[in-house]
């Protein structure tokens, strides 16, 4: 067969059941992505004879004799030459992307729309999912809005400079984890347990090994016996060591028990099907309250330890704390609200599924190219688990297709490393979308009982919270998530009487892990709903009630316990955020309800978040002057749509008085030296950015000192310009300075290090006006506003996009998303068809407002702003629905089929 792809001829024959997507990638067209492999997400969109199709659903043989166009060929489609297609240019101008994994499909689709379709983007883009942006920036791109701006040398901070990877992202050239084709690549598939709890008596591999192409089958007999946690934190021992690379006991449906490695995915799959497993079925428990009861099946036969409270009771962690006397506080209250709120499992749904390629290089070193937020911590743990020296392990990533916390976890790298070390050949593992739902991690489901009392004068008199978190079959992140959940949701209020109790329990269900907000969105939904109720009862505007009771500089921040002394008010903009949202809601703008019979209401909620996780968070940046007079910069932090690469460029350019484009960044590779705790806990700007600022400032001093000395000019008469140093009246181009230093044997580079302490606090306030249909229970968001206190905003366009993306992701959880686990522990929502991600049509525009503050601690006064925009959304929406309908909804998501019946009552 011969295929015409992007104007070139490819003689090749696809496999009988092969889809066009994998065939195109096999031929090297890596711009065609896999997001779902089921026709739902649109990341694989290509044209067949000019018509857009989802290439994952098209049998490859049907493309024979037809013109195939991928993102790589779009610019030349219709003979436009090799310039960018206008839609690619538009996506660059508007920065209509974050991680960029959906972008190729989004651009291919947008470029194909006719005028009628462009007039109804909600319908036209329902087959294109973006998990990062919240769609506003995509809307801007299609509308031709230009959001990027140029920056003057040394003045990049505060400007909307574009992401350095943008041109590669919009043309499909940006390399994500699996966009490489190593010679001799082997493919791994994981065999997974059909039982929620069982011990494996024996595995018969013989039939699997007999499948043509199968190279090896790995089971518990082959795996190292070192227990570890898949959760990654700076301090080893933060998370319970309860996991093996391959275990003999399976503790949830979907747990891997064997890895089959073969010449093709097809053979590896067949090998998995041919494994014969003899199970001893064990009793299982699925509900966390039941799991904590006496006599419940014990899921992990381990000893209690630093990060494991009492495994005999399935108790991973517990938190208890109080201040004052809550009983006395409630007794003195004029109004009390008590309610039990529930937040179910939701999935991160980063469009690039978990994946990794591992190999052993000629020097005998293990290399892992991974889709990770934490390459350095993964290297450290791989070395420990496999008994290797850290110098014998390299972990790195190029561009990562979304993370949201899911990749602060080692779920694919370990088993890939096992196979690569044994087989001495490159091995690839790619999770399917189904595996993402059944066998990766989710947000921790939490049942939160909250009781809040207030006095008639508007004083908050007592707060009590009881939390039960379901951490699933493995304890990864269970403890720290619980601690975080029990902290800022409560400590943001100044109240004399508080009591908090929290428990995280093992159950035989898919593990929960780290997810944007890290426990706070769950407890905040309960607390902020209760605050709203109490304010209503005493007849006070909920924002005014909050204004009176929120914590203010000088007051202690007390949750389950008082915040550690390294958490300080580096700046305080919560008051501004409340006022900004108050004013925006009072303006009365926004959409009108679809018709007068809809019920209309308003609601608000707020959040506080520490700008850095506790326990130390480290980052090193090195900046070097290059021969061409530009700067080479290595940073450890990863880029997965968080936009920190842009920020690093801006920070370095500001410190060095140059343009961002003169800073060439290499990132997220443990071989670059130094250390980086990782891109989690909203640290990409505040920690890694701080390291970059320090490196930039140190290099600036070094350049000036060297220039002063070599030109015999007083240091005070030397100044650094965009591409030169001026020494008195003499101008030394940076390239010349470099060669002078090189001849003198001097290395013009500098390193900056940040350690993540002390830490500050950031704030967000969300407001919604909604309309609820009295018959159907449908919700329409008429207005959405979020005010954010991010300190100095280094890139307003990007920071706004982070807020919008957080609001959109949280609206998904508030309105649609739930990973449903049935009463046998099986996930029943394992595709985007059953698990509705917000699409273009579902997300309103959010007005984003920034408080004017400058932080004492962050780089150039910046604070974190990536997790916290998510946190207040569900509560604000619930409060607006309560205002509209008179009914309080205690459970997410707020779906019409749950709302309608309550309104009728």
């Amino acid at each position: 067969m011969t295929f015409q792809i992007n104007g070139k001829s490819f003689p090749d024959t696809p496999k009988a059941g092969q889809c066009l997507r994998t065939f195109l990638r096999q031929l090297g067209w890596f711009g065609v992505k896999k997001g779902c492999d089921a026709g739902d997400c649109g990341a694989c969109t290509v044209y067949l004879d000019g018509e857009p199709v989802h290439s994952c659903l098209v049998p490859a043989f049907r493309a024979e004799g037809r013109e195939v166009t991928t993102i790589e060929g779009l610019a030349n489609f219709n003979g436009l030459g090799n310039e960018l297609h206008p839609m690619q240019r538009a996506f660059l101008d508007a920065q209509g992307f974050q991680c960029g994994f959906c972008t190729a499909g989004m651009i291919m689709t947008a470029a194909s729309l006719n005028q009628a379709q462009r007039a109804d983007l909600g319908a036209a883009l329902k087959g294109n999912l973006c998990r990062c942006t919240g769609y506003r920036a995509i809307d801007d791109a299609i509308a031709g809005v230009r959001n990027v701006e140029d920056a003057e040398p040394g003045a990049a901070c505060g400007h909307n400079t574009p992401a350095p990877a943008g041109p590669d992202v919009v043309t499909g050239k940006a390399r994500f984890t699996l966009d490489v084709a190593p010679e001799g690549l082997l493919h791994m598939k994981l065999a997974r347990s059909p039982h929620p709890h069982a011990r494996i008596r024996a595995i018969d591999k013989s039939e699997a090994l007999a499948v043509p192409g199968v190279q090896a089958v790995f089971t518990y007999e082959d795996a190292p016996q070192t227990l570890f946690s898949s959760a990654r934190h700076e301090v080893l021992g933060t998370d319970p060591p309860d996991t093996l690379v391959l275990d003999r006991t399976v503790r949830f449906i979907g747990q891997r028990f064997a890895a089959v490695v073969a010449d093709s995915e097809a053979a590896a799959e067949e090998g998995c099907r041919r494994l014969k497993v003899d199970y001893e079925i064990l009793p299982a428990v699925f509900d966390p309250d039941e799991a904590l009861r006496d006599g419940a099946p014990m899921i992990h036969d381990l000893d209690p330890g630093k990060a494991l409270a009492d495994p005999r009771r399935n108790l991973v962690a517990e938190v208890h704390g109080d201040v004052g006397d809550v009983e006395a506080g409630f007794a003195a209250s004029n109004a009390i609200h008590e309610g039990t709120y529930y937040v179910p499992r939701v999935q991160h749904a980063h469009l690039e599924t978990l994946c990794a390629i591992g190999w052993v290089d000629d020097d005998g070193r293990l290399n892992v190219r991974a889709s990770t937020q934490v390459p350095f911590l993964t290297r450290r743990e791989l070395a420990r688990v496999f008994g290797l020296d850290e110098t014998k392990v390299r972990v790195f990533c190029e561009r990562v297709g979304g993370g949201f916390g899911a990749k602060q976890e080692m779920l694919s790298e370990d088993v890939v490393a096992l196979a690569a070390l044994r087989l001495k050949r490159p091995v690839k593992l790619e999770f399917t979308r189904e595996e993402q739902f059944t066998a990766a991690t989710t947000r921790h489901p939490m049942r939160v009982k909250v009781k809040i009392g207030a006095k008639r004068d508007g004083t908050l008199s007592a707060m009590q919270m009881h939390v039960v978190a379901n951490t699933g079959a493995y304890g990864n992140h269970g403890g720290p998530v619980l601690h975080h959940a029990c902290s800022e949701a409560i400590s943001v209020y100044a109240c004399a009487n508080k009591k908090v109790d929290g428990y995280a329990a093992y159950t035989n269900t898919v593990p929960a892990g780290a997810f944007r907000g890290y426990g706070l969105p769950q407890t905040l939904f309960a607390v902020e709903s209760a605050i709203d109720e109490v304010a209503r009862v005493i007849g006070m505007d909920p924002l005014e009630f909050r204004r009176r009771n929120v914590v203010k500089p000088g007051q202690p921040m007390i949750g389950a316990e008082e915040s550690p002394p390294d958490v300080i008010f580096g700046s305080y903009g919560l008051d501004q955020c409340i006022d900004l949202v108050d004013a925006a809601m009072k303006r009365g703008d926004g959409d009108k309800p679809p018709s007068p019979d809809w019920l209309v209401g308003e609601g608000t909620a707020l959040t506080m978040i520490d700008t850095v996780p506790p326990g130390g968070h480290y980052s090193d940046t090195t900046i070097t002057l290059c021969a061409d007079g530009g700067y080479d910069m290595t940073v450890g932090t990863a880029e997965f749509g968080n936009g920190t690469t842009t920020v690093h460029q801006q920070v370095a350019a500001t410190a060095l008085g140059t343009e961002p484009s003169n800073i060439h960044i290499r990132q997220s590779d443990s071989d670059h030296g130094g250390h980086d705790t990782g891109a989690y806990g909203s640290t990409g700007t505040v920690i890694a950015g701080r390291a970059t600022q320090l490196a930039g400032e140190a290099l600036r001093e070094k350049l000036l000192a060297f220039a002063a000395e070599s030109s015999k000019t007083a240091r005070a008469d030397c100044a650094l310009a965009a591409d030169a140093v001026t020494c008195g009246t003499r101008r030394i181009p940076l390239a010349d300075l470099h060669s002078a230093a090189a001849s003198a044997g001097i290395d013009l580079s500098a390193t900056g290090t940040a350690n993540g302490s002390p830490r500050s606090v950031a704030f967000n306030v969300q407001g919604f006006r909604v309309a609820v249909h009295p018959v159907s229970g449908e919700i329409r968001i008429l207005k959405s506003v979020q005010a954010a206190d991010a300190g100095t905003v280094i890139n307003p366009m990007q920071c706004r996009a982070q807020v919008e993306g957080g609001v959109a992701q949280a609206l998904g959880a508030a309105m649609f998303e739930e990973v449903v686990v049935d009463d046998r522990g099986r996930v029943t929502t394992a595709s985007f068809r059953a698990y509705h991600l917000p699409a273009f049509a579902d997300i309103p525009r959010t007005e984003v407002l920034f408080a004017k503050t400058t932080d004492k601690l962050g780089p150039y006064g910046a604070k974190s702003m990536s997790e916290s925009p998510y946190n207040p959304v569900a509560a604000a929406l619930g409060n607006a629905i309560r205002d509209a309908t008179g009914v309080r909804f205690y459970r997410l998501p707020f779906k019409p089929d749950r709302i309608f019946g309550q309104i009728a009552k």
Binding site: A38, L48, E51, P52, L57, A123, E269, S776, A839, D897
Partner: protein, 275 residues
């Protein structure tokens, strides 16, 4: 996704070329469902796209839709002006969870053969009195009304070796007045209830077709426009409270509530027009 157990694709050009059915075979229409889920028991695809059926044929007797006609082609059909029911075509196409790009690949017949409650081509053709022509393995044909073709979720009257050839919509159904209502849990989600009412001014006949909220299409015919009470009583009698579909796309009590609500809205809308 790749269907890795498939070892062979048959691409018959004529009916005579269609291979004898064997275990592990699947008919390949558009492939948009087949390729969206693992199909580990399948070994051969029989591609009916190569049979070269004319997608659409409009005539005085009505509209003939080949099973292999894509959704995009049906949506783009220009119809005679007197076919006032034609807007239903666009409304039902837009009720797909799938995007317009999938419409370029997915087929009308495929949607019927999937027999999902939310299949909008089932709603469309059932409401317009469509009749399926089915090819049997022995070379014969049989005809079954769409309303009887679908038996329940993922279940229909086709035997494994039978093939849906086409759906015929009689011209008489295309000149009726229509009303359409649809709802899902999200703005562009999968239908939880999709109701179509038709009203034939000359005869006064009113037919309500309930889909998506029930496991299979339910049709309620009245010789004259019923009262609200009559309509509701009939629906309640024939769809018991436990007769509504239950899955992640809508709780059954909500589907019932919306079905009854939409039925009354449709009755009112067509009653307005009848005046």
């Amino acid at each position: 996704m790749d269907l890795n157990t498939i070892t062979e694709v048959a691409r018959p050009k004529t009916r005579e070329d269609v291979p004898t059915w064997r275990d592990g075979d699947a008919w390949l229409g558009g492939g948009t469902w087949l390729f969206s889920e693992p199909q580990n028991r399948l070994t051969r695809l029989i591609d009916i796209g190569a049979l070269g059926w004319e997608p659409l044929r409009a005539s005085a007797t009505g509209l003939e839709i080949a099973a292999t006609c894509t959704i995009a082609k049906l949506d783009a059909l220009a119809v005679p002006v007197e076919w006032i029911a034609a807007p239903l075509i666009g409304q039902c196409c837009r009720a797909f969870l799938a995007s317009f790009k999938i419409w370029n690949t997915a087929t009308v017949g495929g949607n019927l053969c999937m027999s999902l409650p939310a299949g909008p081509m089932i709603s469309l053709t059932a409401a317009l009195d469509g009749v399926c022509t089915i090819w049997s393995a022995d070379g014969s044909e049989r005809r079954v009304p769409v309303g009887d073709f679908v038996k329940g979720p993922l279940s229909n009257v086709l035997k494994a070796d039978e093939l849906l050839r086409r759906i015929d919509i009689p011209a008489a159904a295309l000149i009726r007045r229509t009303a359409f209502r649809q709802i899902s849990l999200a703005k562009v989600g999968r239908s939880a209830a999709l109701l179509i009412g038709t009203f034939d001014p000359p005869t006064g006949e009113f037919v309500l077709t309930v889909t998506a909220s029930t496991p299979r299409p339910m049709k309620f015919s009245f010789n004259n426009l019923p009262s609200g009470h009559e309509l509701r009583a009939r629906i309640e009698r024939e769809i018991p409270a436990n007769g509504y579909y239950d899955d992640i796309h809508g709780a059954p009590e909500w589907r019932r509530h919306m079905t009854l609500h939409f039925a009354e809205e449709i009755r009112n809308e067509l009653a307005e027009q009848a005046r």
